[in-house]
């Protein structure tokens, strides 16, 4: 489903073409996307950032599209075995760090957001040598409003449609019983999307033979 198709379907469904309403549909689409990303962990939203931290460093800046960490690993620039760091609260790092000599980082946390809205990642112990890091993270995706298609519009058109419809119908102060039907449609679409994104896309049949539909 393209953005143009979604716009047309919303207008057709609600049979309302007032200019202010039409102008607000992009906002409804963005809100629907926020609702979906907030409820389903979609692999398409994860990406990797790599970089290097210098000896004595305890933080590095996450990319500007960073939303939340998925995992962080480090490897000494000189080589050797890489290590996944454990995600902890910032207070955990502050509590344990006293006395630790600089070394291979073991723990990390999302540290703080600076004035430019850039998130920094703090780790402990402080790096003793240069390390390359690999940060797998959830990123902010471009909205369908600015793209012709997105992963969501192609793979979860029902979720996009009902999600947008709910916000549009709320704008029109629609009937509660009709709204309930739209909500029900959205919930079913989210459930199906969750099966795909959090189930089938993360488990293969090697350990989960039930993944294969009966033949």
């Amino acid at each position: 489903m393209t953005y143009a198709q979604l716009l047309q379907q919303i207008q057709d469904m609600l049979e309302y073409e007032e200019a202010d309403f039409i102008a607000s549909i992009p906002d409804f689409v963005k809100r629907a996307e926020d609702d979906i990303y907030g409820q389903v962990q979609i692999p398409a939203t994860s990406t990797v950032a790599s970089g290097t931290v210098a000896p004595g460093a305890a933080t590095f800046n996450a990319p500007s599209d960073f939303l939340a960490p998925y995992s962080l690993s480090m490897t000494a620039v000189t080589g050797g075995e890489g290590r996944n760091l454990e995600d902890k609260d910032r207070e955990f790092l502050r509590e344990i760090i006293h006395g630790y000599p600089d070394g291979f980082p073991r723990f990390y946390c999302v540290n703080e957001v600076n004035s430019s809205e850039i998130v920094s990642i703090r780790f402990a112990p402080v790096a003793d040598v240069s390390y390359t890091y690999s940060l797998l993270y959830y990123k902010k995706l471009a909205s369908l409003v600015t793209e012709s298609t997105t992963w969501l519009s192609l793979n979860a058109p029902n979720a996009m449609f009902y999600g947008t419809l709910i916000h549009a119908y709320r704008y029109l102060k629609g009937e509660p019983d009709t709204m309930a039907e739209y909500v029900k449609g959205f919930e079913m679409a989210i459930a199906n999307l969750r099966i795909l994104a959090e189930g089938r896309m993360k488990k293969d049949t090697y350990r989960n033979p039930n993944q294969v539909p009966p033949t």
Binding site: E91, I96, H98, G99
Partner: protein, 219 residues
Amino acid sequence: MTTSGTATEAFDLTDLFLEAYELAGIEARTGYQMRSARRSFNYLTLEWANTGINLWTVTSTSTTTVAGTSTYTLPAATMDVLDVMVSDDDIDFVLTRIAGTTYAQITNKALQGRPNEYWVNRTLAPKLILWPVPDAVFTLTYYYVRRIEDAGAYVNTPDIPSRFIPALVMGLAYKLAAKSKGSESRVPVLFQEYQRLLSEAQAEDREKTSLMLVPDMGR
């Protein structure tokens, strides 16, 4: 395929606390959880001091007596005294331990000579009291059981030999589960497993020598 060739893995307190939390079914994420684990560690080691002699805590030290002085302050971390000797002309004389009531019944406490008895006065700052009161400078050597060292910084390794680490971690897990809401159901299992591991470690923690019993023929 090869083995690692090393047996030197040293677990710091952070490792041990995280393992204990996992056994308790808890993910340790906060600073307070670590502080709480450190407090439990210190309590646990105090409990172990009450279970008997932990061989790695047996320490010896020497000092010299002062003529006319019967009382000697023991090191602050002393839990108990095991053996006391005085050396006179490079010959060690083993002293006999007596109880406080026995010492109290000695009619002439000021008698001076080479000490042959001692009383451990277990006040908050424990003292070693010799009798007879030394009449000269002797080398005083004693073996004592010291407290297990405090946890200190999280980077520290515990003052506990590796053979006791499994019991330590399970004991910590039991304590952490007992004071963590939602993990109460694990307490009985953890306690049972802790007792098993501690018993095994304590059974192994002994002098492996022949026991010789010799009748006292009055010689």
